[in-house]
């Protein structure tokens, strides 16, 4: 039983897309880099089958500020990769609003739980960030995304989801930030990655240089 549960959790961590968001409407400063380590856990539920599965994720990220309002970056998951960007279009006082698109590809191997397949995902998040102080900033926003599942055995399926996130960014010294976050989404069309919803809570650690 324990083996099965661990296997399910581990496999989902391998196969799941960027279920976490860790976005901010404040781009990385122009000419600067920011590395991040993201990890979290949660649960997903399939409405049709009633299956509830524990899940987890881990990712390494790297972002680069291009201008005061734009950054680009990549995130590397265990078997997946995302390209992301932040484009700030509102900056008034302590408030920022941005568009944060993301493209992901996940490659799963043939295992006891995953198929030999590609999973392609695209998502757009609109983070709204309030900077309370030099130490604290709070971000939240909606997200819309879609995905396609392409297995080796043939055919494809797709899905679209709506989601949201809330995170807090706490500055630790000059170069480090700690970012706890909760996020969730619900698949509204199709069955990728499932016919249901997902909720996660996690922690990000950022390092600027």
């Amino acid at each position: 039983m324990r083996t099965l549960a661990l296997s399910l959790a581990a496999s989902c961590a391998l196969g799941c897309p960027s279920v976490s968001m860790y976005r901010s409407a404040e781009p990385v400063p122009a000419g600067r880099w920011q590395a991040s380590l993201l990890a979290g856990a949660g649960a997903l539920a399939d409405r049709e089958t009633g299956a509830r599965t524990p899940t987890g994720y881990g990712a390494l990220g790297l972002q680069r500020g291009l201008t005061d309002d734009v950054d680009v970056g990549v995130r590397l998951y265990t078997v997946g990769l995302s390209a992301l960007a932040t484009v700030r279009f509102v900056h008034r006082g302590s408030w920022s609003v941005a568009l944060a698109p993301e493209l992901s590809v996940v490659r799963t191997p043939n295992t006891s739980t995953t198929t030999n397949a590609f999973h392609l995902f695209a998502a757009a998040t609109v983070p709204v960030t309030y900077r309370a102080s030099r130490t604290w900033a709070f971000s939240a926003g909606p997200s819309v995304g879609g995905g396609v599942y392409l297995p080796e055995a043939g055919g494809s399926s797709g899905g679209m989801w709506l989601g949201a996130f809330v995170n807090a960014e706490a500055r630790l010294g000059e170069r480090w930030w700690l970012v706890p976050e909760v996020s969730g989404y619900n698949v509204v069309v199709g069955d990728v990655p499932l016919r249901g919803g997902l909720f996660t809570a996690g922690l990000g650690l950022r390092f600027g240089f």
């Binding site: 039983m1 083996t3 099965l4 549960a5 399910l8 496999s11 989902c12 196969g15 799941c16 880099w33 997903l44 399939d46 049709e48 089958t49 009633g50 299956a51 509830r52 599965t53 790297l62 680069r64 291009l66 680009v72 970056g73 990549v74 590397l76 078997v79 997946g80 990769l81 390209a83 590809v105 490659r107 043939n110 295992t111 006891s112 739980t113 995953t114 198929t115 030999n116 397949a117 590609f118 599942y149 392409l150 297995p151 080796e152 055995a153 043939g154 055919g155 494809s156 399926s157 069955d191 990728v192 990655p193 499932l194 016919r195 249901g196």
Partner: protein, 337 residues
């Protein structure tokens, strides 16, 4: 800007490194000894493996055994669970036993869960009047696995010539229950079935069984996942409801197959000191045979096969006999008239 270019170049390289997906090509005519992985036209994300006997002449119609995986498994586990140490290719695996007897072995995929797409199941029936829907994914989604079976056989027939009098179905657990359902609903196609650790949930939950089909039922008395007697039994954390027991399932088949009330019991040799003993019960006077291999001390396992989970979870594997050999002998003796 140069740094950004470097970042994008790194991204492109990483994307390339993720690797290209190779989709399965449609299988053409197989040669003797071939081992192929084949897609099924018009079927999403479900393929089958086929093992063709080496001593086939490449021309004659082949008898076919369709082996169905258990709930949560896939076509690979359907093969490995029958192997003594879980490694396909070993002597004693169903694939080896079937090949030696001249059968093509077909191992299809059930329907995958979401998002764990290789955790698969069959819609073997149940889901009403307190009977467990087995297994949950495919059954809850009401997958049409009868249509899938028809498409599967059509796809197999494009790979090897099929001896229509000798199409047999076997499987463990959910695959065993699906074997019963196919016997009930495709008696014009299925010559005989051998179910291991899975019974006729389809019939007990109101499904019809349309004609006589020879049945071999292999079941462990200490099976914690699919109880020997009708009761709630499960070793997966999502399952609820009763599963029909061996006696009820075989009583229904005895009635349908026209068996008499008497049976002949034969104890199999206690060949291994593994805490199990096996008894073969053969009912007399049947128009189509009903045979039961009762494994005292046996669990939710394939006798002679792999201890795929620990004994506390699924019970013991009996080493007193090899279920694959018993099954192939039973199929040898029961072609369609």
């Amino acid at each position: 800007m140069r740094s950004s270019f470097t970042l994008l170049a790194a991204l492109a390289l990483l994307a390339a490194d993720v690797g290209c997906l190779t989709t399965l090509d449609p299988c053409s005519r197989a040669a003797p000894g071939a081992s192929l992985e084949c897609p099924i036209e018009g079927v999403f994300d479900r393929a089958f493996s086929i093992r063709v006997p080496a001593r086939w002449d490449g021309v004659a119609a082949l008898p076919v055994i369709v082996a169905l995986h258990g709930g949560g498994g896939n076509r690979r586990s359907a093969e490995s669970v029958t192997c003594p140490s879980g490694a396909p290719g070993e002597p004693g695996c169903l694939s080896a036993v079937a090949a030696a007897a001249g059968y093509a072995l077909v191992l299809p995929d059930g329907t995958g869960l979401r998002p764990l797409r290789n955790v698969r199941s069959w819609n073997a029936g149940g889901g009403r009047d307190g009977w467990q829907c087995v297994s949950r994914g495919a059954c809850q989604s009401n997958v049409d696995d009868l249509d899938f079976f028809d498409r599967l056989l059509a796809a197999v027939a494009r790979v090897v010539p099929v001896d229509r009098r000798r199409v047999f179905v076997t499987g463990l657990s959910n695959g065993g229950a699906m074997s019963h359902r196919l016997a009930c609903e495709r008696p014009d196609v299925v010559a005989a079935i051998a179910a291991v650790g899975g019974t006729n949930q389809h019939a007990v939950a109101g499904g019809r069984c349309n004609a006589r089909v020879p049945v071999l039922q292999v079941h462990g008395v200490d099976d914690p996942c699919w109880g020997y007697e009708t009761r709630t039994a499960t070793c997966a954390f999502l399952e609820e409801g009763r599963k029909v027991g061996v006696d009820d399932t075989l009583a229904a088949w005895r009635t349908l197959n026209g068996c008499g009330a008497t049976a002949r019991d034969e104890a199999l040799p206690d060949a291994a000191p593994d805490g199990t003993r096996a008894l073969r019960r053969t009912w007399a006077g049947c128009a189509a045979p009903v045979v039961h291999l009762r494994v005292d001390g046996g669990g939710h396992t394939w006798p002679g096969g792999h201890q795929y989970l620990d004994v506390d979870t699924v019970g013991r594997v009996s080493r007193d006999f090899n279920a694959s050999e018993e099954i192939v002998r039973f199929f040898d003796a029961n072609p369609r008239p």
